[in-house]
Structure formats: structure tokens, C-alpha cells
């Protein structure tokens, strides 16, 4: 066993400090060490995107990052995007437009979609499908996921306009 490292992370705005082996995968740090269980493990092999989180502004599959690499980083998970009392427009739209069935892929989907809309606030259907290509859903057939993201984009744009 290699020496443990002193790791500092900021997860959803909260500073965390702990000792961990560098080989610990970030998804396990989040789920088992910090009890942040929104990000899921679908494949553990970088294929499904269920473990997607945002790290320093990038959508990342947290099963494919060692905790040592994330030392010093800012991490956002679905928990940092919205919760039962303050649903994010994306969460609202997924609920409204049946963007989920079993919901297993949903935290990764919404975390990725949020970043996509930051980069491209009004994406076309094709751009959504291309931008969401790293996230797999076994249930919905994607149609309603695309619809949900479109609806959230429209909602966020009109909220922004109203605020201006």
C-alpha cells in the first residue's frame, strides 16, 4: 500500500479534508467517504456517464479520475445543482417531461446537461444529442431527455430575460 495523501476538495461549496490513498477513484470518495450518493456507478469503465460530476468547470466521469488528481479542485454533483425544495429548471423539466424512468442515469444526465447549457444556452436537438453522447440511458430512449433539456433551456432563457 502506498502512503496516504492529504487531500483537500471543495464539494458543492463545502471544504473537505481527509487522508486517502491516491488510487482511490473519485466516485468512491464522493459516494462512500463523503456520503454524496447522487453520482452513480453504472459501468465503472468510462462508458455510461452515470458518475458525471463537474470538476473545475469540466464534465468529468468520476470513475475515471483518481482522488489525487482532484486534490485542490472544485467539484459539483447533482446535490449542488438543486434539491427537493429548490429544483433546478433542468430537474423541473425532467420531472415534467418524463426525462427519466428508473432515474439511475439522471444525476449524470442533469449534471452534464447543466454544463452543456452553460456552454450553449439554446442548443438544437442535434447539438443536445451530440453534447449528451457521453451519457447512456437504458430506459427512456432519449427522446424525453432531449425534450426536457430543450424545455429547461427555454425556461432558463425566459427567466433570464425577465430578470433583465
Amino acid at each position: 500500500m502506498s502512503d496516504k495523501m492529504h487531500i483537500k476538495l471543495n464539494v458543492n461549496g463545502k471544504n473537505e479534508e481527509f487522508l486517502a490513498e491516491p488510487r482511490e477513484l473519485l466516485i468512491y470518495t464522493l459516494r462512500e467517504r463523503l456520503n454524496i450518493t447522487g453520482p452513480h456507478i453504472g459501468c465503472e469503465t468510462s462508458h455510461c456517464g452515470a458518475c458525471t460530476v463537474t470538476i473545475n468547470g469540466k464534465s468529468v466521469k468520476s470513475c475515471t479520475m483518481f482522488v489525487a488528481q482532484a486534490d485542490g479542485a472544485e467539484v459539483t454533483t447533482i446535490e449542488g445543482i438543486g434539491g427537493p425544495d429548490d429544483l433546478h429548471p433542468l430537474q423541473e423539466a425532467f420531472k415534467e417531461h418524463h426525462g427519466l424512468q428508473c432515474g439511475y442515469c439522471t444525476p449524470g444526465m442533469i449534471t452534464r446537461a447543466k454544463k452543456l447549457l452553460e456552454e450553449n444556452p439554446m442548443p438544437t436537438e442535434e447539438e443536445i444529442r451530440f453534447g449528451m453522447a457521453g451519457n447512456i440511458c437504458r430506459c427512456t430512449g432519449y427522446q424525453n431527455i432531449v425534450k426536457s433539456i430543450q424545455a429547461a433551456a427555454t425556461e432558463m432563457a425566459s427567466a433570464k430575460e425577465a430578470a433583465e
Binding site: M1, S2, P22, E44, S46, K61
Partner: protein, 284 residues
């Protein structure tokens, strides 16, 4: 899937990287985005007792576009390649190819340096770099040296890079004429069944320059000088394209795997090269 334990280093400069490499020899490896190496470590197909993360090493993330050449630092990610408007204007084939690599999450992490240095025949950048006649820059304990992309690849995962050297960047002469990168893959995130990179210059009706490279059809990328010869001086009509495909098929050496038997791969290689030449020519 828990990889074997390792010591982790995140040095702040290249000197420190090199001294760890010299100390530990082939027990040490550098890592950029990690999206090739980490999966291999998780499967315990790669054993890396000393892992050197390059993320804090400065000066590896620049893109410099000048009049006749483009220099790209090893740590530039695929996402950064895609988003750089100046680069896209000077060498649109880079963006076209990078968009076909893996998926968005992987493109935020995957770097050009990792993609070319790893020596995986499935990676897209090595073939593209051969098409563009890139030069790779290496640094080691004895200083820096340059290697042509067309001379760099020896076999699967075997390159001209020594264990104590680090690839710091690539330089390409600014590409001329029409371009295309075409990739046939089974699904998003898969490696190519066959992929082709073509740059082509048209003067009047005649092709005056061409470059052709193929991906994942041998244990190295394949630059096909004979395919180039079949195109240059022609009007890139059907006969010329057929000749280029025939020449390319002589140069590749695909093996049977879960993407199909050899006959199928040769067939797909021909289809893809035809599409790539036609599209590049239409843009020339």
C-alpha cells in the same frame, strides 16, 4: 476495479518530472488526462508504481498559430482544440477529427499529447499527425529532440520515445487546400473500425499535393505514400480514387478483432478513404 497502489507525484516543473523518471525508469509513467492510462490501471493491464501527473507543469497548454506553422502543447485537451477559433481557421481538420474522438466528458480530459504519445493504434491523433506531417517535441535528461510523426510509431504502444522522455508538444506546417477526417465506428466512444485523414490541394482541375493517413488498420498509423502518388497529378476522378484505395490497401495490415474480420476491415477502409478523398477534394 481498484488499481494497484502507486506513489503519486504532481511536480511543478519539467525538471522535477525528468528526475522522477530517471530515478524510477520504466516503473514511472507520466499521465496527462489519464483517460487511456487509468482504465488500463483499473484493469491491472498497466502497472505504474510511480505515477507522475503533469497537470501542474507549466507551458504545456499553449496553442500558437503563426503564418506557416502551428504549435500545440501536449496538455491541450480535445475540448480546447475544438473550441479554439484561430486554430480551427488555420487547420480545420483538427477540429473535425477531435469532434469524432470519444464523447464530451472524455474530450474535456483527453489531451493531444496523451493521444499521440500512448501509441495506441486506435487513437485518432497519430494518423492525423502523420497526414499533417507533424513534428513531435520530446524532452529527456539529455535535452530536447524532435521526431517526425511519420517516424515515431514502431508497433502497438511502442514508439521512438524513451522511457525517460516526455512528449511536450507537436508542430505542424499550416495545412493547405481541402481536408477531411472520416471515421467509421460502431458507436459513440468506440475506436475506429477504419478512419482516414486527407489533405489535398487543387490547382485548376489538377491535384498538386495530397496527404493520406489511415487509423486503426495496422498496429501503427499508416501514412500511404503510394496513395498520395496515385492522386497527385490527376483530376481526382474515379480512376485516381480507385488507384489510391488500391495503393492504401497494400500499405495497411488490419487484424481480425471484435470490429470484424480482415476482409470487412479492408472493405470499410476503402469506403472510408473514398469518402474522405471526395469530401476533401470538394473543399479544395
Amino acid at each position: 476495479m481498484i488499481p494497484a497502489a502507486f506513489d503519486y507525484y504532481r511536480p511543478k516543473d519539467m525538471e522535477a518530472v525528468l528526475s522522477i523518471l530517471v530515478e524510477h525508469g520504466d516503473d514511472a509513467r507520466v499521465m496527462a488526462g489519464g483517460h487511456s492510462l487509468i482504465p488500463m490501471m483499473k484493469l491491472r493491464m498497466a502497472d505504474v508504481p510511480h505515477l507522475i501527473d503533469l497537470q501542474d507543469v507549466p507551458d504545456l497548454s499553449d496553442i500558437v498559430v503563426s503564418a506557416d506553422s502551428i504549435k500545440i502543447g501536449a496538455m491541450v485537451t480535445q475540448a480546447e482544440l475544438i473550441d479554439n477559433a484561430e486554430l480551427t481557421k488555420a487547420a480545420p481538420i483538427l477540429r473535425e477529427a477531435a469532434l469524432q474522438i470519444a464523447d464530451p466528458q472524455v474530450r474535456y480530459m483527453g489531451t493531444i499529447g496523451g493521444n499521440v504519445a500512448n501509441g495506441d493504434p486506435g487513437n485518432d491523433m497519430p494518423g492525423l499527425m502523420q497526414c499533417l506531417d507533424a513534428t513531435f517535441h520530446l524532452v529527456g535528461p539529455d535535452g530536447t529532440r524532435d521526431v517526425a510523426a511519420r517516424d515515431f510509431y514502431e508497433a502497438a504502444y511502442m514508439t521512438d520515445r524513451e522511457d525517460d522522455e516526455v512528449l511536450t508538444g507537436v508542430t505542424i506546417p499550416t495545412p493547405q487546400g481541402g481536408y477531411a477526417y472520416e471515421k467509421q465506428k460502431r458507436k459513440i466512444g468506440d475506436y475506429a473500425t477504419a478512419a482516414a485523414a486527407v489533405q489535398i490541394v487543387k490547382d485548376g482541375d489538377t491535384c498538386t499535393f495530397a496527404s493520406v493517413a489511415m487509423t486503426n488498420l495496422s498496429d501503427t498509423p499508416i501514412y500511404s505514400a503510394d496513395a498520395v502518388e496515385a492522386l497527385v497529378g490527376t483530376t481526382v476522378d474515379d480512376a485516381a480514387i480507385k488507384a489510391a484505395i488500391a495503393a492504401m490497401l497494400e500499405d495497411i495490415d488490419p487484424s481480425e478483432d471484435n470490429r470484424g474480420p480482415i476482409a470487412f476491415k479492408n472493405h470499410v477502409a476503402g469506403v472510408i478513404l473514398r469518402r474522405t478523398i471526395e469530401r476533401a477534394w470538394s473543399r479544395a
